[in-house]
């Protein structure tokens, strides 16, 4: 399972970074979203990967439990990144309205 998660995080981050470096605002937003997905998966993986383990109850001892803290962290991180993406979207639309261009610098390269 670890290689799958690792590859997933790597692919998401790689695509995200590439998109963030693109000149269009929409690409930047999608890139940032991909990076935040990668980060969320990464936080999960830091609680060690376990399948079907309970978070609280169970008599098997502490090592058989899934770590609940990263799950709580992911929840918080999702909420925050979601809100920030929405905010960035609004700013992008404002920028599009004010400049008439969806380039991140507000003007096309040639001008």
């Amino acid at each position: 399972m670890e290689p799958v998660i690792a590859i997933a995080i790597g692919v998401l981050t790689g695509s995200g970074v590439w998109l963030v470096l693109r000149p269009r605002t929409f690409q930047v937003i999608v890139g940032l979203s991909l990076i935040s997905y990668a980060v969320n998966l990464f936080i999960f993986s830091m609680g060690r990967l376990k399948v079907g383990a309970p978070t609280f109850t169970g008599s098997a001892g502490a090592n058989a439990l899934a770590d609940p803290v990263p799950q709580a962290l992911v929840l918080t991180a999702i909420v925050i990144s979601f809100a920030m993406t929405a905010l960035l979207l609004v700013v992008t639309i404002a920028s599009r309205g004010l400049t008439g261009s969806d380039h991140v610098d507000g003007r096309e390269d040639g001008l």
Partner: protein, 565 residues
């Protein structure tokens, strides 16, 4: 527990409640909202001063005050910790907030919607970041601070602000991702998010865990260095700060210092004695800081607009702090803290002053007109004039000129104001290190830094003089700007504080020296947090210290962190 112990919570709770109230009673810059905002900032100033007195009681041996939210034991719950450094930063924030708030009342808070609630939320984030003793909570408070700052940076709208805001938000979102990766790596390695607890576990890590921890700390360091705008991670700063409205830019003057604070706090806490900063290697800090100073210096010389000049002066100040932190020993550290306070106050005053000084000129008016137009607000010329007419200050150009001169002296570090004392203290400590330093490498670094600091002071002076001559000695007759007392007052108060820092330099230096001594004793902070007993109503002694030392990593703590949302 007496009320004074609960007061630690107030710098976070008060602005949060006030911001909520403002939204309930319609936060669009009504009279009530403004009154609430003023009340909140002044109350915060009072609270911050009380906390500062509390935290510095006992001179060199002052204790770290710890507050366990919800009365959970320190290892499980979220703690707030107040030591001299956080108290100092809280007081500095409150001072800037009061000045910016009063200044904004003249006109800027009406340049767009929801200025006051956003301002209060910014204060929640700043105060929380300075107080929290929990790594993930630090992230949450950073995000609260940044979310509010995005709104404030865009306050007033307009082309320049939206463009700069877009870059600012994108860069900071990427930095936040790095922050999260760093936090989770550290959690993965140590199994804790409590800063003191992490610090106590570093020694027990195996080779694999230690490596993970170091990587996490380094990633975290990158996130903080973006906030502190080190070269090459700081290109977003001058444009954003120059585009932001003056009261907002004045508040932003402390936001780069949050990054510096975090590097200082976590770096000292997470690094076992006698090793370099684990968040950012000292060589890296020194080199990055030096280049930041030079970049800021060149930027200042190249700037045409005063607001841009001020933006680059933030870079120089931030670079100075980082470079000196990278080069220095304990003596240098305390001088750095003094410089931090002095330069933050001076830059904030400068940002406020720029708007007043340029008001008579066409540019500032243009910006404002465009702003209002873009926002669909019809600018009521008459009422504005009649409101300001009664309070307009006479001989305004002379006063503004003197204030500008004071800013120039403070920023370039010339006598007789506190900028000079700060720079002199830093140079003295660095030269001392160069002479008696343990290794030839550190002496070389100290000499390089001394030279850069002196040259950057000269460059700042040249840039400031040129801007001053252009603004105050124009070849054509200029109309004196109309400035009301509530706009001029905050500038003068901030500058008077710098004068106060100069006159009371002895006590201030003593304070920062004790602060660095307290910071260097990482055991003090760890013990204060980890050995703090929970309070039981019947019998506070029975419960004893929070947890026995044996109950560590394997037991996952309850998902208390959800409360952080």
């Amino acid at each position: 527990m007496s009320w004074i112990q609960h007061l630690i919570l107030a710098p976070i709770l008060l602005p949060m409640v006030v911001a909520g109230l403002m939204l309930v009673i319609d936060g669009r810059s009504g009279r009530t909202t403004a009154a609430l905002g003023v009340f909140s900032t002044f109350a915060l100033l009072f609270i911050a001063i009380v906390l500062l007195v509390q935290a510095s009681a006992g001179g060199a041996q002052s204790a770290v005050l710890v507050y366990q939210i919800g009365n959970w034991p320190s290892r499980l719950g979220i703690v707030l910790a107040l030591d001299r450094l956080s108290a100092m930063m809280l007081a500095l924030t409150a001072l800037l907030a009061t000045a910016a708030m009063v200044f904004s009342l003249a006109r800027w808070h009406k340049a767009g919607s929801f200025f006051h609630p956003l301002f209060q939320v910014l204060l929640v984030g700043l105060n929380g970041a300075f107080l929290t003793g929990d790594l993930f909570n630090l992230f949450v408070f950073f995000e609260i601070m940044l979310a509010a700052s995005y709104g404030l940076a865009l306050h007033g709208s307009g082309h320049a602000r939206v463009k700069a805001g877009l870059h600012y938000i994108a860069v900071n979102l990427v930095a936040s991702s790095a922050f999260l990766i760093g936090v989770s790596l550290i959690y993965g390695a140590t199994g804790s998010l409590n800063m003191a607890d992490i610090a106590s576990r570093i020694g027990d890590l195996d080779a694999h865990g230690a490596m993970l921890f170091r990587v996490g700390a380094a990633v975290l360091g990158v996130a903080f260095l973006v906030k502190a705008a080190i070269w090459p991670l700081g290109f977003w700063l001058p444009t954003t700060y120059a585009a932001a409205g003056p009261p907002v830019a004045a508040m932003f003057a402390i936001m780069t210092k949050v990054g510096v604070y975090a590097i200082l706090r976590l770096g000292l806490l997470f690094t076992p004695d006698g090793q370099g900063n684990v968040l950012a290697a000292s060589g890296l800090l020194l080199a990055g800081g030096l280049i930041t100073i030079i970049y800021g210096m060149l930027g200042m010389l190249a700037s045409q607009a005063m607001a841009r000049l001020a933006g680059f002066s933030v870079l120089t100040s931030s670079g100075t702090l980082l470079a000196v932190m990278g080069a220095g020993n304990a003596n240098v550290f305390s001088a750095t803290l003094y410089y931090l306070v002095s330069s933050t106050l001076a830059i904030a005053a400068f940002f406020l002053l720029i708007e007043l000084a340029e008001r008579g000129r066409a540019r500032a008016d243009d910006v404002l007109a465009v702003t209002l137009e873009a926002y669909g607000i019809v600018y009521d010329e008459d009422s504005e004039d009649s409101r300001e007419a009664g309070a307009a200050v006479p001989a305004i150009l002379a006063i503004l000129g003197i204030a500008f001169m004071a800013c120039a002296l403070l920023l370039s570090g010339l006598p007789p104001l506190s900028g000079f004392i700060a720079k002199f203290a830093m140079l003295d400590a660095l030269l001392d290190q160069a002479r008696n330093g343990p290794a030839p490498g550190s002496a070389w670094a100290a000499w390089l830094l001394v030279a850069t600091l002196v040259v950057s002071g000269l460059a700042t002076l040249i840039a400031m003089m040129r801007a001053g001559i252009r603004t105050f000695w124009p070849s054509f007759e200029r109309e004196a700007p109309r400035v009301s007392m509530i706009e001029l007052g905050p500038v003068l108060v901030l500058l008077a504080l710098c004068v106060g820092l100069t006159i009371q330099a002895g006590p201030a230096m003593r304070f920062v020296r004790h602060t660095t001594e307290q910071l260097a004793e990482r055991k003090l902070y760890m013990d204060a947090v980890l050995k703090k007993p929970v309070v039981t109503p019947q019998d506070s002694a029975a419960n004893g210290p929070a947890l026995p030392a044996g109950a560590r990593a394997p037991v996952p703590p309850p998902p208390k962190k959800e409360a952080a949302r």
